[in-house]
Amino acid sequence: SRSPLNDFQRLRATELLPLPPEAPPPPEPGPAEQCAQRCATSPACRAFHHERQSQLCQLLRWTQHSPGVRLQKNIHYDLYQKKDYLRDCIVADGISYRGTRATTEKGLRCQHWQATTPHDHRFLPSPRNGLEENYCRNPDRDKRGPWCYTMDPSVRHQSCGIKKCQDAICMTCNGEDYRGFVDHTESGTECQRWDLQHPHKHPYHPDKYPEKGLDDNYCRNPDGSEQPWCYTVDPAREREYCRIRVCKKRPRPLNVTTNCFRGKGEGYRGRVNVTVSGIPCQRWDAQAPHRHHFVPDKYPCKDLQENYCRNPDGSEAPWCFTTRPSVRVAFCFHIRRCDDELGAQECYHGRGETYRGHVSKTRKGITCQRWDAQTPHVPQISPATHPEAHLEENYCRNPDNDSHGPWCYTMDPRMPFDYCAIKPCSGNAVPSILESTEAVTFEQCGRRDERLQLKGR
């Protein structure tokens, strides 16, 4: 129950364009899997475009490594290319290798397969055997992998020394960041694609976990397991670990903090060891009252010492198992979040309406948009609407008397506006909220069915 797509590497929203442009082949209808099947059985086909909306596909004779071809963004297409033409590593003995390496392990240039000098031979190219140009190939199943005849008259042929995929890219720690091309499990079973739900339905949709690198059917570790794994094409075996070389050098942990945490707190190394409600945390090297798989020596990079709050699996914040049987885990949100704002460069008086400085970055360090620009945000406040507010360049200003100080539109398309790296000057006289005696007026909201509450009780 393997999918024909297993032989392909997908590039989203991408189109392959030959140069000079060539009339594309006529599109054929069908889901991506059908297209893959068609391409797999056509010797000339090396890739195909799949138009998701119209469910049409175009078979292609080239890949991004072919001379004179370039990739281009195109939201309508997904580009599928045969893995063997893209990978620079080999699976098994490499007979399916179709990469473009053309030098031997000693650095000798390879002789074209078409040529018979300086070395005469009988391995001549054909549409099916992949012997093209002077690329390393393995037409005779040599155990040492792809090889070639060399241009050195004194060296007839030599191995190219192309690494096995399982050794080509090593993994650090538990392989959460592994982005290599191993696509078989430790027992040799092929992996299921992450973007397919058969033979095994699963929750790890690539779109849902964009940062986990769930590409094609490559081994990955999206859930804090001990090492990369994959769902398998074997209906009887849902998932299995993969064998991947561990890098010799252990990476230096990033963002190490001890008395606060940054981001998801993966770098937190402090000693808080109780939950907010005062329940002591369970030791990581204990299996009671809660059994778990986060055994310290299997997660050497996660510093699972004692019973300290840690984040070994990319959760929202540091957490721990608790010593209370009825509460398995608890977040340690009571650990303070480190301040992640730029240091204030200047200060302002009052609400900053009269600020005329040149700070032009938000408190997160994003560059401000010019007040007279229309992109990335169409401003509701501009020099035209507020001539008196000195809205110059992209300097922080407070044209709308915002009580939280100078702000600007930002160059981040996702962030219309934000406050600036400017703080109130010390001794800034802002009237205390506790003296205000405003009348209370409310909108039509805040209603609920009191009867329901009674019923709830």
């Binding site: 929202e316 949100f333 509701q380 915002d402 409310f442 909201c445």
Partner: protein, 227 residues
């Protein structure tokens, strides 16, 4: 919620991570906007694809066929002014208002809720055995005057915070409730006066509980929703 009871708080929402696990609370202030707390989110430009808000819940984990459940993806997070610790979450689509899902009012800018006002907190967080943690629990707490609270906290109280008085029976928010509402009934309306923030201990009987004072940030909230 420690020391609470099952109840109805139609503006209280449950915030779910990609695995569908509840990890914080929030309040629905507009059909497409929820207020919660910065502490619950890894960063102000976090990629929240796969995160959802669940509305209309009474049970923390109802069956998927629960007719009242509305599960709406979160598309964007906006962090409030620095000291506010608030975040606004924009939803992929407006929530449908019904008897299980309602908006909560925002207070006027810089409004100070009077001491003694009875307010309530709500959430699906830890109950420490005082109630059924599978359902939404609600508890009442009286607002404590700023001055009294300042004295009790030995001057550490900020203007951006408001307090409720400790109750001898131990009533308060706990983990899993953070980001949820402190709602007060004023002029026949439920108003979002405070947001639950993480504290070192739950339901203390010897110290006031702190909440972020929403009325200080109403102008920011309106501005984000308008922009």
């Amino acid at each position: 919620i420690v020391g609470g009871q099952p109840g109805n708080s139609p503006w209280t929402v449950s915030i779910r991570n990609r695995a569908g696990v509840h990890f914080c609370g929030g309040s629905l202030v507009k059909e497409q906007w929820v207020i919660s707390i910065r502490q619950c989110f890894s960063s102000c430009d976090a990629d929240l694809s796969g995160y959802e808000v669940h509305l209309g819940l009474l049970f923390k984990d109802p069956g998927p066929a629960d007719p009242d459940l509305q599960a709406i993806p979160i598309v964007r997070i906006f962090c409030g002014p620095s000291e506010s610790h608030l975040v606004l979450l924009k939803l992929a689509r407006p929530a449908v208002l019904n008897k299980r899902v309602a908006l909560i009012c925002l207070p006027p800018e810089r409004y100070v809720v009077p001491a003694g006002t009875i307010c309530e907190i709500a959430g699906w967080g830890e109950t420490r055995g005082t109630a059924d943690s599978r359902v939404l629990n609600v508890a009442q707490l009286p607002v404590l005057a700023h001055g009294e609270c300042q004295a009790a906290l030995r001057g550490r109280l900020k203007e951006s915070e408001l307090c409720t008085a400790p109750l001898h029976t131990g009533v308060g928010a706990c983990e899993g409730d953070y980001g949820g509402p402190l709602a007060c009934l004023t002029a026949d309306c439920w108003v979002l006066e405070g947001v639950i923030t993480p504290s070192r201990v739950c339901a203390r009987t010897d110290q006031p509980a702190l909440f972020i004072r929403v009325s200080l940030y109403v102008d920011w909230i309106h501005k984000v929703m308008k922009m």
